[in-house]
Point group: C2
Chain length 327, copies 2
């Protein structure tokens, strides 16, 4: 059994917990939190919740520690720190800071003889993998990534900060015509506005100026001003009834040409439709937690990404079984 | 530069040749054939064609030898034989015989300090990879593979063997309703007939009994009797004009559930639309030829499949560049 610990019990931590329950060779041994442990109730029977401080004393009880904090401030500090004590997996997703994060985690892990995977999930993660495979197969081509239809937490939060807004759920939606143009293999150049639209469901405070809120959303730089955005005002009851899930998904498409006269076009598409973004992300993390445990047992230490790990490490089946049943 | 040799210059050999031309770090150094070399004209300027016999003397000139023979009789003999002399890649696709083929190639390669990849292409190959990843991420789920729309060479050949048939092109076509049912996440049980239809374009000999040919096709065991098949009789000119390409493709879909009450469904789909089956297969092989050269340089010998090779080995970019641009 692979003994897994979870640090951080928000949506992602709960998603990892669900995923562990689906893997017969894994066991959740403990959840760690910065909150008062007594205030945290986990779903898996018999699993204890500890304060973060306990992590320094439990290195002999945990094979892989999954870090479920945020990329902005938590993981840049936590992942290198705990890579010195544990094999760890995180889902660090600030693309621009990945090189620096990788270097910090790699140094800590190598010094301690630990194995780590950073930036694990679906983007970065499975989408990255599919970009890489398709780029290597079709060097003469063009990549496209579409997100949605799904809830963007960052955009929902940005709207919630507007005066007069009680709650918001923001959906990112790929433009069907853009998807079709890409799938035709014609390699269109697409602007930000042509690729995605944004749809906001907003609960306003009583007496708030709805026209002002709508204008503030639509003109918000970086988040909305480059997109066609639709705003719907709804009640708290409607929000709860119709928008309580965290669906997401999207696709990575690469189209490219082969032949001595570029006469043949190929379209490679990887497509995800996810009812629960955190549970799917947690499921990817669980598979890579298995890989981390195996790699560490082989003495393959340091920081890795999904690019560095042979697919077979993700499975609990033997090479013989994989070749017989999945090849 | 990675120096590549091609043994066998049919559709696949030509596809590999095209692919090498698209990879700036690879060079085609020679083509080998069992035919009279003087009868074989290759497209790449300055590349010599040799008889198979020359292979025993060119081990110092070639980094990776790509074997483009057939799976029925060529590769079971050729791949172990040349794994004793070269790093090799083949596209062996007789699923039931993969364990035996793997063992033979592994023994020869390990003895000689060579690195080999067998069963490389899109199915087996990229489809297998996607089955493996999706199975590891969603252990509680169900796999579906659909092929087409595309030309099946095996089925076309089977029809050509019928008395009165001059030529045939057989298309395998996925049933749209089955694809929709699978993508809904409901995990339907589908019969062979429900998943694919078959369409044959046949050029008959003058005076042939068309009704008899059609009946023979539709009732052919293994190939057609379990499918709804449509037969069209066309002229040789129509065959040449409308059916000279070798398009193919298909998709691997896994749907699965997560959550403590299985309340969330996820759909993972990998989809290929290929204008040229042999050129895309050749492109996959070229990427794995690069991996084989790198693995051998690291001393990682023996037989591998796509399951055993970390994605980064397929690329000519450094780990830093991959993390910065594709993660």
């Amino acid at each position: 059994m692979i003994k897994v610990g979870i640090f951080g019990y928000g949506n992602l931590g709960k998603g990892v917990e669900c995923a562990i329950a689906k893997n017969s060779d894994m066991e959740l041994v403990a959840v760690f939190t910065r909150r008062d442990p007594a205030s945290v109730q986990v779903k898996t029977a018999g699993v204890q919740v500890y304060h973060e401080d306990a992590l320094k004393d439990m290195t002999d009880k945990i094979d892989v520690l999954v870090l479920c904090g945020g990329s902005a401030t938590d993981l840049p500090e936590q992942t290198p720190k705990y890579a010195a004590l544990y094999n760890v997996v995180d889902s660090f997703d600030t693309h621009a800071r990945i090189p620096e994060h990788f270097a910090n985690v790699d140094a800590a892990a190598k010094k301690a003889g630990k194995t780590c995977v950073i930036s694990c999930g679906w983007d970065p993660g499975m989408f990255s993998l599919n970009r890489l495979y398709a780029n290597c197969i079709l060097p003469d081509g063009k990549d496209y990534t579409f997100w949605g239809k799904g809830v963007s937490q960052g955009h929902s939060d940005a709207v919630r900060r507007i005066e007069g807004v009680k709650d918001c759920r923001q959906y990112t939606i790929p433009v069907e015509a853009a998807l079709e143009a890409v799938r035709s293999g014609k390699q269109p150049e697409l602007t930000t506005r042509e690729k995605h639209t944004r749809e906001c469901f907003v609960v306003a405070e009583e007496g708030a100026d709805l026209a002002k809120i709508e204008a503030e959303i639509k003109n918000m730089p970086n988040y909305f001003s480059d997109y066609d955005t639709t705003v719907h005002f709804i009640t708290e009851e409607e929000m709860k009834r119709d928008h309580s899930g965290l669906p997401h998904g999207g696709c990575v498409i690469r189209t490219g040409v082969t032949g001595f006269n570029n006469e043949n076009t190929h379209v490679v598409e990887y497509n995800l439709k996810l009812d629960s973004n955190p549970e799917f992300t947690g499921s990817v993390i669980a598979a890579y937690a298995r890989a981390v445990a195996k790699l560490n047992a082989e003495g393959q230490n340091g920081c890795k990404t999904v690019f560095d790990i042979a697919p077979a490490y993700l499975s609990n089946l033997s090479g013989e079984d994989l070749r017989a049943h999945l090849l």
